[in-house]
Symmetry: C2
Subunit: 259 residues, 2 copies
């Protein structure tokens, strides 16, 4: 297994830093290759701007064609190109981050915004009567598996079916489905550590043990059964789920997961 860990926390001695270290040591001890993108240590540039696209930046700046033009010409910046190469090298991708304001920290969002360029992560494949590009089950990153490892400040009950924040699987759906599954990766159920602001040493040991078990079964864990876009489940080009396919009572994001 070749694993890329994208890690987003400013403090190496944090819970997130410790979970990243657990992943590196566990996977390497099991004979796997591991690379880490430590976004804070890399001083990762979080913000998309014209400088990302060199001579391919349109004027006025239009992000999509500029991104695609620079990608096609091999002219994206070296930091972005290096991350795209790591994604192509990997067969497994772990995103390790604290949930801040119900999603990823800005530095990690900026990794997505810049690395997932046009013609690399989106704008791939043809559009015709049966296909709407290669995405949601197809795409550049097909054949790879991804998993989120997320720390959450609040307790689990706040993130359950009736919890005030909404169910954790719905909060993570835009990342799972919209960022990871979109360019072709299979997505495993997340590893979520609740109560992260008040964790004791013994609780950390328990969490590390559970995380190790997940790490050692990444190759055999069943992914979330998202529906493939071009499988016949959706009308083209409206991309609405065809009537009658859903399980009774299922709505919203959950329509897009098979039974």
């Amino acid at each position: 297994m070749k694993t890329l860990i994208v890690y987003a926390h400013p403090e190496p001695r944090s819970l997130n830093g410790s979970l990243k270290d657990v992943a590196v040591s566990t996977l390497e001890a099991a004979g796997h290759e591991v690379r880490v993108s430590d976004l804070y240590a890399m001083n990762w540039k979080a913000v998309v701007d014209a400088a990302d696209f060199g001579g391919y930046a349109t004027g006025p700046l239009r992000v999509v064609p500029s991104s695609g033009g620079a990608y096609d010409a091999g002219a994206l910046t070296p930091d972005v190109t290096a991350e795209q190469e790591k994604l192509l090298w990997a067969d497994t991708v772990i995103l390790q981050f604290p949930m801040w304001w119900y999603t990823m920290p800005a530095i990690l969002k900026g990794w997505v915004d810049r690395v997932f360029s046009f013609h690399f992560a989106y704008g791939v494949g043809v559009h015709d009567e049966t296909r709407y590009g290669e995405r949601f089950g197809e795409g550049t990153l097909l054949g790879r598996r991804a998993i989120l490892s997320v720390t959450v400040g609040g307790p689990q009950s706040h993130y359950t079916d009736r919890g005030i924040n909404g169910p954790i699987e719905d909060l993570l759906f835009p990342i799972h489905h919209g960022i990871l599954y979109y360019p072709g990766m299979e997505v495993l159920p997340p590893f979520v550590l609740y109560g992260a602001d008040r964790i004791s040493g013994g609780e950390f040991e328990d969490a590390a043990k559970r995380w190790k078990e997940r790490l050692l079964t990444l190759e055999t864990t069943a992914p979330i059964a998202f529906r493939r876009q071009n499988s016949g489940d959706y009308e083209i080009p409206s991309l609405r789920l065809k009537e009658g396919l859903e399980a009774p009572g299922r709505a919203g994001f959950r329509l897009h997961v098979r039974d």
Copy 2:
């Protein structure tokens, strides 16, 4: 009306720049005061790190207590303090941004991550048997209204009840409920412009007209009827919605909106 527009696009001549300009001119022509935080023009620092907290950064860095300590001492950085003052000055807040990967661009997420500090936007109020802090309907920004103005590349059908991306109201829920309603703001239904990558001049004129109508009714538009956390609808401290309160068939994020 005193309106703060937080605007996140790198190109002034973009659709987002034009919608921001429409908002400024429309509101000022109607006699309102407007301030704009143009995050790209301000070269906004998107990434939370120890430098945000000066001498109040704990070692090892723990973001929550460092943020609260610096806020309490008036020692947050001047850029963050200025944004907090603008939020307190405003009675209406507009976030103008393109949807990138199903949420806000990194620069705007970094505005939230840094400006919404501990003791300002969260960690406010007491916890007891009937109250779990002041949030979701109470908090520092109570009495203000907020609205998202979002451009989306894809067509509307992809974002409807059965659309492959999920319903737009669910994609925006973590921002509406988790970022804007959390510190006390009422949230108006969003202004969403679909097909933004392929819009014609005539279509823009139509959109600008619809946006002007929304801008001129910000004071009278009914907000999204999110449930108040401390209103009796939730068990304390599990913060699970009490049984029997929901409309039939409603689940997930929509449980937290009253009928």
